[in-house]
């Protein structure tokens, strides 16, 4: 397949064309699996009025700080530790940032649904809570459910461990997390990888994201350790 090459040279080239008002999904959970170099490049490119979709403030921080974000859709609208400084809070209180908070499982199902051609599905998670407010409901057996809609992305920024020029990707341990689901949901998926490998080097049985879901691949340096470890709770000896 000599003609196909999705690899681009720099993170800036990789995020080119992300337009004002785009819906951008960002993979990762805490630091692990977060496309650090793509986020820095996009923050520098400064598109306006983005809707960002991710799972924790870590994914949104740079983009909020550079004034790119109109709305964040996230299950964690603060860090798990309520005492940690929250980049969403001040812009939210000032009315500069809209925040949609939702169950993480509803989020990943909505993303998968977008990628799978399912416009909406019913689920019981959120019944009896603020999540059900204003939503259509239906009862199956004894179980009341909410109608949840697909959440399609214009772009997904993801982080993988290794990728080839066809866009096949593998991940590393829990840095896999939300990245494969973001990839499926987006019109254009952009992957930051630790290493670009030759086509054929990845085990076909172990490819997690086949190249059909990936449009650009860029090799990037891993994030600095002070950024990474900021989010990691100091372990205690057991």
């Amino acid at each position: 397949m000599s003609e196909v090459n999705k690899v681009v040279a720099t993170p800036s080239q990789a995020v080119a064309g992300i337009f004002d008002g785009a819906v951008v999904g960002i993979g990762g959970f805490g630091a692990a699996g977060t496309p650090y170099r793509l986020l820095l490049a996009l923050a520098e490119q400064k598109p306006k009025g983005l809707t960002v979709v991710g799972t924790s403030p870590r994914q949104f921080e740079f983009l909020i700080q550079s004034g790119c974000v109109k709305k964040a859709i996230t299950p964690f609208a603060r860090y798990a530790d309520p005492a940690a400084p929250n980049p969403l809070l001040e812009p939210y209180l000032k009315g500069e940032l809209e925040v949609e908070i939702l169950p993480l499982g509803n989020l990943v199902e909505r993303l998968r649904a977008a990628g799978a051609g399912i416009p909406a599905f019913y689920c019981p998670v959120g019944i009896g809570t603020i999540v059900e407010e204003g939503k259509e409901k239906k009862t199956f057996g004894q179980q009341e459910c909410i109608l949840e809609y697909a959440l399609p992305l214009d772009f997904a920024l993801i982080k993988a461990h290794k990728g080839d020029r066809l866009g096949n990707l593998v991940y590393r341990m829990t840095a896999r997390c939300h990245n494969p689901v973001m990839a499926v949901a987006a019109k254009t998926t952009i992957a930051e990888v630790d290493e670009v490998v030759e086509v054929g080097e990845l085990d076909p049985e172990a490819v997690v994201t086949p190249g059909i879901f990936v449009h650009r691949v860029v090799k990037a340096e891993r994030p600095p350790l002070d950024w990474v470890y900021r989010g990691i709770k100091v372990a205690r000896k057991t």
Binding site: F29, G30, A31, A32, G33, T55, P75, F76, A77, R78, Y79, A80, P82, N86, L88, L89, Y92, L93, V99, I101, L102, P103, L104, G105, N106, V108, E109, L111, R112, C123, P124, V125, G126, I127, G128, T129, I130, V131, Y171, R172, M173, T174, A175, R176, C177, H178, N179, P180, V181, V208, L225, V228, Y229, I232, K233, V234, A235, R236, K237, T238
Partner: protein, 217 residues
Amino acid sequence: MTGLSRDLICLRASKELKPGMYVNLGIGLPTQVANFTPEGVILHSQNGVLGFGPIASEDEMDWELVNAGAQPITLQPGISFFHSADAFVMMRGRHLDVAILGAYQVSATGDLANWRTEREALGAIGGSMDLAYGAKRIIVICEHTDRDGKPRIVKQCTLPLTAKGVVNTIITNLCLIEVTSAGLELIEIAPGISIDYIQRFTEPKVILSRDLKEMEF
């Protein structure tokens, strides 16, 4: 803190876990239960890992091997990784035997509030609603009272709910309570704690179990 230390709460909770059970430990205090889980219990985390080992010590730590609370964990034979949609299939499809969750409030009918306090404008739902709905059994572990000394076990939750009628068991520094259709049944009391003391800091009236006994470790 009166009664049990946080470690002892975790230790007591860990005794509910048996080999072969699939278990999720929620963010916060519940993650510490990992330090006490018996061999053969298979731990799940919503960021896409099953069958992981104990919390990592500082020198074992790898920042790409963490649980949902961003604590470093360890590899062990039989561990597997998957993406988060699959992780949530396990949670929402009732494949987990037990979830141990923290709580700000639990009601007399097992309603759970654990994602936003009164003090904050934004909260963190995370995977709590998915677990509270999806796991076959929900064990809440928390301190019996909040930082203002008010009961966490209440007639009606005043904080935003995580899920309605889902809590099966509550383990605190003072006692172990089962949520039954008849009400809150006091099953075990922490050493040195009186029934009156528990009732004083529990808003709904508790029912005394026929088999009421002192908690053992």
